[in-house]
Symmetry: C2
Subunit: 468 residues, 2 copies
């Protein structure tokens, strides 16, 4: 039975006992309106959306537990939802069921300044957290671009521009509160910086995409706002030269905070969208954090590396507003890419390879993309070996969809052949399940065994990560 067929087969009746019991629990905070449901079944990806049968807006862990318990009683699917900014169809209600929206769980539970950590409810977004922290001298660094919820970022193992220095959600989460498939609530770890106490439940839940439990609270590491921050842009004669600069920078152990590659096509999009006049050639965006002397030292080393590889002079942005403008251009990249082909939609993907293979992987990919009948700009967090492509297709043109899919298949095969991964940061959702087996083989059977052990009725975000 196809996902669509199952979806229709399993739809909950609006008068079903589950809906009735949820309504008794939540009142107005249970919605079955078509608009709310449609909104909650789609993310920012190209993947087909599937609406849930109802959307439950929870305010507390206890409510989440009660909602999950009811879904367990009726064996109804439950899909956690933060901001809907995922990119592999993570929130699609493939089999209907209840969308559990945690976006109203917006409390910062506690900030432990001395310990450089804080605990937030799952719906707190990264920008809200950083606003909250403004007067503490601390910040939460993980920045996937979108103003995603911290719970969703944990669930998808998000990373982004400054993971090269501060790590991904894998390294940033100290502990989680999770509601299990039967409604029980666990905390995955204590708040100490390290622990050797049994299986690493925190890391198991980080990246599990709501398939093993619903994350309701997240304790994350914070960092001191650096004394000095500097940002710069540098153009290169080729992608290889740019990537070689990155490799050398990483190998020398320069603790660069961000190091982003945009190819010539992306830069053309940025100039068009942001009214800038950057050189239309492969470009690195840098950010350096540290003491004043430390930043000076880092930038001197990196400028030396770039110059040797034919990079242009650095364009500096040291004032906060200049820096924000520079990074705004990077953050607006997706819209800038779309500007390259008005009316198009981006089929966006990401892969990650060992950094020694990065130049080769991008070069082969550019070569392959050259044949495409649509633009396919490339950009990425190259300090980690992670890059993105947006295939800018006409969403109504099946030929273009097929062509993009074929390019995409070859991209993944190329990354896997280089000992890379089919996704550095976007996750599997239902969009990349076919690639997971190619990447990990029998490892997927271990994932399946874990899924079946922790969610025997397959109600937690079914149809994502592993097929049962």
């Amino acid at each position: 039975m196809s996902a669509q067929a199952q979806q229709h087969a399993k739809r909950l009746d609006p008068d079903s006992p589950l809906i009735g019991e949820l309504r008794a629990l939540l009142g107005e905070r249970l919605s079955t309106s078509a608009g709310v449901r449609a909104n909650h079944g789609k993310d920012e990806s190209f993947h087909k959306p599937f609406s849930p049968d109802a959307v439950a807006f929870a305010h507390t862990t206890e409510e989440v537990s009660a909602i999950v318990s009811l879904c367990a009683k009726y064996k109804a699917p439950i899909i956690a939802y933060g901001t809907g900014t995922s990119l592999e169809g993570h929130v699609a209600a493939l089999y209907g069921g209840i969308c559990l929206d945690v976006s109203e769980m917006r409390d910062v539970v506690e900030v432990n300044q001395e310990d450089l950590d804080c605990t937030v409810q799952a719906g707190v977004t990264r920008m809200r957290l950083n606003e909250y922290l403004r007067d503490t001298g601390l910040f939460f660094p993980v920045d996937p671009g979108a103003d995603a919820s911290i719970g969703g970022m944990a669930a998808t193992r998000a990373s982004g521009t400054n993971a090269v220095r501060y790590g991904t959600m894998r390294e940033s989460v100290l502990s989680l509160q999770v509601v299990l498939a039967d409604g029980r609530v666990i905390r995955t770890a204590r708040r100490s910086r390290k622990s050797a106490a049994g299986y690493d439940l925190t890391r198991l839940m980080v990246g599990s995409e709501g398939t093993l439990g619903v994350i309701t609270e997240v304790t994350v590491r914070l960092h001191g706002i650096p004394e000095a921050i500097a940002a710069a842009v540098c153009a290169f004669p080729s992608v290889e030269a740019a990537v070689d600069s990155v490799i050398t920078t990483i190998q020398l152990g320069v603790p660069v905070a961000r190091i982003e590659l945009l190819d010539a096509m992306s830069m053309a999009g940025i100039n068009k969208f942001s009214k800038t006049d950057y050189a239309v050639s492969p470009t690195l965006f840098f950010e350096f954090h540290g003491t004043t002397a430390g930043v000076a030292e880092q930038t001197e080393i990196v400028q030396g590396i770039a110059a040797e590889l034919g990079g242009s002079d650095f364009k500096w942005a040291t004032l906060t507003e200049d820096r924000n403008r520079l990074w705004q251009a990077r953050h607006d990249l997706y819209y800038a890419m779309l500007a390259l082909r008005p009316g198009s939609k981006g089929m966006v993907t990401d892969v990650c390879v060992p950094i020694s293979r990065l130049a080769e992987c991008i070069a082969e990919t550019e070569h392959d993309n050259r044949s495409a009948s649509f633009p396919a700009p490339i950009a990425g967090h190259v300090g980690d070996g992670n890059f993105h492509i947006a295939y800018l297709i006409d969403p109504d043109d099946d030929d273009e969809i097929a062509e993009a899919s074929a390019l995409h298949d070859r991209l993944i095969a190329r990354a896997l052949a280089m000992d890379g991964t089919c996704t550095g940061e976007h996750g599997i959702g239902y969009g990349k399940m076919d690639f997971l087996g190619a990447e990990l083989g029998e490892g997927v059977s271990v994932m399946r065994a874990i899924k079946q052990a922790l969610d025997p009725d397959n109600i937690m975000n079914p149809g994502k990560i592993v097929r049962l």
Copy 2:
């Protein structure tokens, strides 16, 4: 049935079919000699050793797979063994069975200099790896003290003196090759720096203590040997003053490579054992890594912090041999502690708390220990909030054992009350199983479900981490 009773009940006969099949596979590399068996059933802990029925020395992953498959066929326990330097009875064959010794799996499989990683067979020790890497300019930083095998370090989520800068095995392992309970071989991840591809099997296996599979190959992150290294020792008027220096250092984001606390009693032991003349007061051992300018900056900041808190002048060790002597004293600490009470044995433990609670936790612990009828020196990796106690007891005196156990119980309760963990780095083994429930409650049931899913016959290091 007690563990001892079960052990006797389940002993394999030397003429059993399993032993016969293993001998056919391994020839001389299967040992049933009493000495070899006894050697393999004990670690460096105070916990009662239990000998396996036979010891199998594997050379390849394929052999490990064949051995595990045979054990699965006969439902015989299998206990992986690296160097026997674990500290919570991890290698004790509580129910008999086969000890799988991987210490002869000593190949460095590959070094990827450009990617700052390498893959080793599980039996390669950390010192052997660092010798191997000597000419590459790279090093493997995780240093638990003992020259442990990398496989064992991964299995126990080891850390040690420079985890504060470079992370523990949790952060250091990129990928593992693991033989599952039915003999299947998986690789937990590709070699890219990050991935969002499904459940984090790598982190699940790191710290699983051989209860979910046998680790046969480990891919770890390497780091560039820093341009400059400086080490120093600084005495403080109180543990609080020393710990406050640490907290401030960490909060300021100084990337100190090691920051170790030894209490006055430990320093007395060191002077006695190593013929040094350090002040007999709470002391911090520091190591700074970086560029020449970076190290100068770090040390200036830290000296300023220490001076404000009443620390003595720094005693510097910048020459390699001086530095090695200084750290040798730290590494010999256990023996130095024993020198405080000749003939004693150390009941060694570790806890880890949020750093804001560290001074309080150590102060209360020192106060509690003051009543003890034996010395109980304290030392630790205080940058992580992790510290150790060695209760120096007469191993033949049941009263002292009971007294130490009571102190230990209160130590763990104190750490848990401060939102800490019952073990920062030693692991659970069979020595700390009772504390795991107190720490994680229902979380333990999740561990149990995972264990049962991946090892339904409970043959992988049974009786460790979780009770079934």
